[in-house]
């Protein structure tokens, strides 16, 4: 790569973007205007909320008791609430005929009046309210103090009714203010009753709860900014990458300039790097400008607002310089990641409009990962540090809050995950620009009938990549629907039935049917080939050697992401219902059935389709992703994903699912033995105690066995590498034609 070419492409693209009004509006004008406008709007609303007088009508005012007084002329009495609140309620009288209306009719009339804006809320005092209240007070006064009088013997006071419309802001506010007045009035009535019986007023409130906020003013500010700023920076880094990426890829295609650029001496990697730098620059600039605008607006406006009603006003100044520095440092990898992803996706699009459609899902995927760290009780730990985007947001939050020790502890995993994400995204973006099928995609006319007919006539011997991906999604969807409808099995018999239904009905049978439908050679479509004895036996042996490592991996996953209480309870219940099962049925249900059905589906149907891409990494990882996703529990999915990679490797090298089936069976069988049978024999057999450690409750292999198993796995892996991938036609794409020498073809034969 020549830096001079990258620089040239970068400067040209930057100049081009700076001359684009849309980009300028998004990165510069919008952030500079957005926050001040938002702040002004908030102030306006707040002022309106405080200053707008509420119109309240009182029905039955004449029937109210004289002491304590609620109304004084056309206002509420002094002393009920503070003068400011009292002045914000304008009392009016309802039409005289309303007193005769039934409750339903009155509700209708009030609703009409509120809608027409004549009134905001109405208070109705029932006819006998005053009389019954008087009776109540009298009973209270005459109530003997020596014995308990049942409360039911007291005269019940009818409820005054407050009519409001909660969908109307003004009505809600009026009701809130009126309620405050009525509560105060009620307290005065209670106090008067207590006074008449010479009971101290404090009897109603023997103590108060005092609040002592130990947070320093600075910490409060940090806590506020540490949640807000990283989120804002990330959202704008993503948004800032969108438009330039679309313009630089889809826009160039639309204008026809991409073809010319590709005929220039600039290498495609240089072009992508130049474009990537541009998008990263604009993404960072958008985030920085938004950050500046938010901080400036925040320190000027929000700091003056009373954020917590009734508490001390929280004075928010500008965030510390250290916070801003951390944000700027972390912004770079975030922008690079978003830019590479946006560039790779935008390369698919043929036009600006299409680019926007394609990038929207990226936002939808990223948004939950960005919202997750803002949730209460979400903190940086070993598990969250490994989640893309969420980890780096949490790291930023920790850094801004000044908890450097915690940040230092999880800095490496966070940066590792982010760096890996960046590298993969950049690699993918470059790959996209090397694909003719991506750069010169013609307009696709989708006609379902013709398409289906063509597909049926021209279907190839085994399913293709698209077919495999669709099958994977379909199976996942079916599994999800079945999982949401199924209930927890109560007995072992129920469990076996549900396993049969899931494994056979939702995996194996659909896999075989889809293989028949999508390809002409079902056996090849399911990779049902005999690779010879050696790889099959090696597959089983590999499972034995890998099992200790797999157990350690599972333990690690459980440490990083502990099971939730609900899931833990369900798993314990499952274990309890397995108690009466014999070892044979356990092995059959937990090892044989999944080994056949899951391998037929994931290393058979999906793998045979995906492998036609000619890319082992893509094939193995994608099939493992589906394999992991089909397992319902997240922790189980993670370990299944890793095991899937290993079995995928076997399938790639041998072009057969048989070694995988034996691996899967052996691995699951050993897990069953370890979980169900070994605990019974471990206390009695000293030899077993040398190999296993069950001290901390969980049965684990001795570290020496884990290490030895790992070494043997490595040796078996190297032995499998000696197997040569042999000829199988690759999927015909723009980049490949059957006439070309079959250098990138698949299948296996043992090395000569």
């Amino acid at each position: 790569m020549r830096w001079s070419n990258i620089r040239l492409v970068f400067w040209r693209e930057c100049r081009d973007q700076l001359r684009d009004r849309r980009t300028l509006f998004t990165i510069a004008v919008l952030p500079l205007l957005l926050y001040p406008l938002l702040a002004i709007s908030v102030f306006q609303v707040a002022q309106f909320r405080h200053d707008h007088p509420s119109r309240v009508w009182v029905i039955g005012a004449k029937r109210l008791p004289s002491q304590p007084t609620l109304l004084h002329g056309d206002r509420f009495s002094d002393g009920l609430v503070d003068n400011a609140t009292r002045d914000l309620i304008a009392l009016g009288s309802a039409p005289p005929d309303w007193t005769a209306l039934s409750q339903e009719a009155l509700s209708e009339r009030v609703e009409q009046e509120i809608q027409q804006g004549h009134v905001d809320a109405v208070v109705l005092f029932p006819n006998d309210f005053s009389l019954r209240l008087e009776q109540f007070n009298q009973q209270m006064a005459e109530r003997p103090t020596s014995q308990d009088t049942p409360l039911l013997s007291f005269s019940e006071v009818p409820e005054p009714t407050l009519f409001l419309n909660t969908t109307n802001d003004k009505s809600r506010l009026a009701a809130q203010r009126t309620k405050k007045v009525l509560q105060s009035w009620r307290e005065q009535i209670v106090r008067a009753g207590l006074r008449s019986r010479q009971i101290p007023i404090t009897a109603t409130r023997p103590f108060r709860v005092a609040h002592v906020d130990l947070a320093e003013a600075g910490r409060q500010q940090l806590a506020f900014w540490s949640r807000l700023l990283p989120f804002v920076v990330m959202i704008w880094a993503l948004t800032g990458a969108f438009y330039p990426a679309i313009d630089l890829c889809a826009g160039e295609k639309e204008r026809g300039t991409l073809e010319t650029l590709l005929t220039s001496p600039a290498d495609r990697r240089e072009i992508v790097c130049g474009k990537l730098l541009t998008v990263t620059t604009f993404s960072s600039a958008t985030a920085v400008l938004n950050l500046s605008s938010l901080v400036l607006t925040g320190s000027l406006f929000f700091g003056q607002m009373e954020l917590v009603e009734g508490a001390q006003p929280l004075q928010l100044g500008a965030p510390s310089i250290a916070a801003v520095v951390w944000l700027l440092i972390v912004l770079l990898p975030i922008s690079a990641l978003f830019s590479a992803l946006s560039l790779g996706i935008a390369a698919f699009a043929r036009s600006n409009k299409e680019g926007q459609y394609y990038l929207m899902p990226l936002l939808l995927v990223c948004l939950p990962l960005m919202i997750f760290p803002v949730l209460p009780a979400c903190e940086l730990d070993a598990g969250t540090s490994l989640i893309p985007l969420s980890g780096i947001l949490l790291l930023l939050r920790t850094l801004i809050e000044g908890d450097y020790l915690l940040a230092a502890r999880y800095c490496l995993p966070v940066l590792g995950v982010t760096g890996l994400g960046c590298w993969l995204a950049i690699h993918w973006a470059v790959h996209q620009f090397n694909q003719e099928s991506v750069l010169f995609r013609e307009s696709e006319r989708v006609g379902l009938r013709i398409g289906l007919r063509h597909w049926w006539r021209h279907r190839q011997e085994t399913p293709g990549v698209t077919g495999a991906l669709c099958c994977g999604l379909l199976l996942l969807f079916m599994r999800f629907i079945a999982g949401s409808q199924a209930s927890m099995p109560a007995t072992w018999r129920d469990f076996v039935t549900s396993q049969m239904l899931v494994q056979v009905g939702l995996l194996a049978v659909p896999a075989v049917l889809l293989a028949c439908l999508l390809g002409r050679r079902v056996r090849d479509g399911l990779l049902l080939r005999w690779p010879g004895y050696r790889p099959v036996i090696a597959g089983g042996f590999l499972a034995v050697c890998f099992h200790p490592l797999g157990m350690e991996l599972t333990q690690l996953i459980h440490n990083l992401y502990p099971l939730s209480d609900a899931i833990g309870k369900q798993l314990r219940e499952l274990e309890s219902i397995m108690g009466p099962a014999s070892l044979g049925t356990l092995i059959l249900t937990m090892a044989v059935l999944p080994a056949i059905c899951e391998e037929l589906t994931f290393r058979g149907l999906l793998f045979s389709g995906l492998r036609r891409s000619g890319r082992p990494g893509f094939t193995i990882l994608t099939s493992s992703l589906f394999f992991g996703a089909i397992h319902g529990v997240f922790q189980q999915s993670l370990s299944a994903f890793v095991v899937g990679i290993l079995i995928g490797g076997l399938a790639w090298r041998t072009s057969s699912i048989l070694p995988g089936i034996l691996f899967h069976f052996t691995y699951n069988g050993l897990s069953v033995l370890l979980g169900m049978v070994l605990p019974l024999y471990l206390p009695k057999q000293p030899i077993l105690q040398l190999a296993f450690d069950g001290a901390d409750g969980a049965l684990r292999y001795h570290p020496l066995i884990v290490a030895s198993g790992g070494l043997v796995c490595l040796a078996i892996g190297l032995w499998f590498r000696g197997w040569r991938v042999d000829t199988q036609p690759k999927e015909q794409t723009l980049d490949h034609h059957p006439d070309t020498p079959a250098t990138e073809s698949l299948g296996t034969t043992p090395a000569a």
Binding site: R255, G256, E259, S264, P265, V446, G451, L734, H737
Partner: protein
């Protein structure tokens, strides 16, 4: 200068399966020669030129430009060619001067040499009047001139014109053809694709008539016309295309008749 041997390109279409855009075409174009690729829309002209420009990779066969293979030595090939496409490919937010400078610098030209070349080209192509006009505000003629200047800035020995006169008015079209002739006289090897026969007659030393990815005829157009007994290239073109279509339809008719016969024979055996 340009050698193309058994070049094929196959695209896969979601609806129609594989479509053969180029079917083993071969030709040879020399220095100081204009080679015309003639064909209807969809004949495969653009695909062939994109392969020569290293933008697409061939499915099979090979092509060399000045001895450099378009697949293996693509970077070298790009230094030796100038590509002008029908859509002019001008950046909307760049002036003519900026655009040509940009491509000159991508070709690694020394600033002084670049400036001299640009002055010369802008004078030769009469572009000084609009050198500071943004691409979005240029007329089609201005765009095409800018596009030619961009393709010529590094003084490549080979020039590829892909339907370069499409959308130009008569004056601009004539001006472009004159420029192409001058470039030929300067010793450039030019591949010029068009579906306008008069342009080919006027410009091309050799032509190839391309239809459905295959060459129907190739050589000096006068010799070809004489050989087939036609007075001009347009008549020859029409006749060759018509013949090719009738051959295709009769072969598909033969296939359908054969199929029906097989079915009826099978049916007769059943009864």
């Amino acid at each position: 200068m340009i050698r193309v041997h058994q070049l094929s390109k196959i695209y896969t279409d979601w609806q129609q399966g594989d479509s053969i855009a180029l079917n083993a075409i071969s030709f040879h174009a020399k220095r100081g020669e204009i080679y015309g690729l003639l064909g209807t829309n969809g004949a495969g002209k653009t695909t062939a030129l994109r392969i020569l420009a290293t933008v697409l990779a061939p499915s099979s066969g090979n092509a060399t430009i000045d001895g450099c293979d378009v697949v293996k030595d693509s970077a070298l090939v790009r230094q030796k060619i100038g590509f002008v496409s029908s859509n002019t490919a001008i950046y909307d937010r760049m002036t003519a001067w900026e655009l040509v400078t940009y491509f000159g610098r991508l070709h690694g030209l020394d600033p002084e040499l670049l400036r001299d070349r640009m002055e010369g080209l802008f004078t030769q192509l009469e572009m000084h009047d609009f050198r500071d006009v943004l691409g979005a505000k240029m007329s089609s003629g201005m765009k095409q001139k800018t596009s030619i200047a961009r393709a010529l800035i590094h003084d490549p020995p080979v020039l590829i014109f892909d339907e370069a006169t499409v959308g130009l008015d008569v004056l601009a079209g004539r001006s472009l053809l004159d420029t192409v002739c001058k470039l030929r006289d300067q010793g450039k090897c030019i591949v010029f694709s068009t579906h306008i026969m008069r342009e080919a007659e006027r410009l091309c030393d050799k032509v190839a008539i391309l239809h459905r990815g295959r060459f129907l005829a190739e050589g000096n157009w006068r010799d070809l016309a004489q050989e087939h007994g036609y007075a001009d290239l347009e008549e020859l073109f029409f006749e060759l295309i018509r013949e090719d279509r009738s051959v295709d339809s009769s072969s598909s008719l033969r296939e359908s008749v054969a199929c029906e016969t097989t079915v009826s024979m099978a049916a007769s055996r059943l009864t």
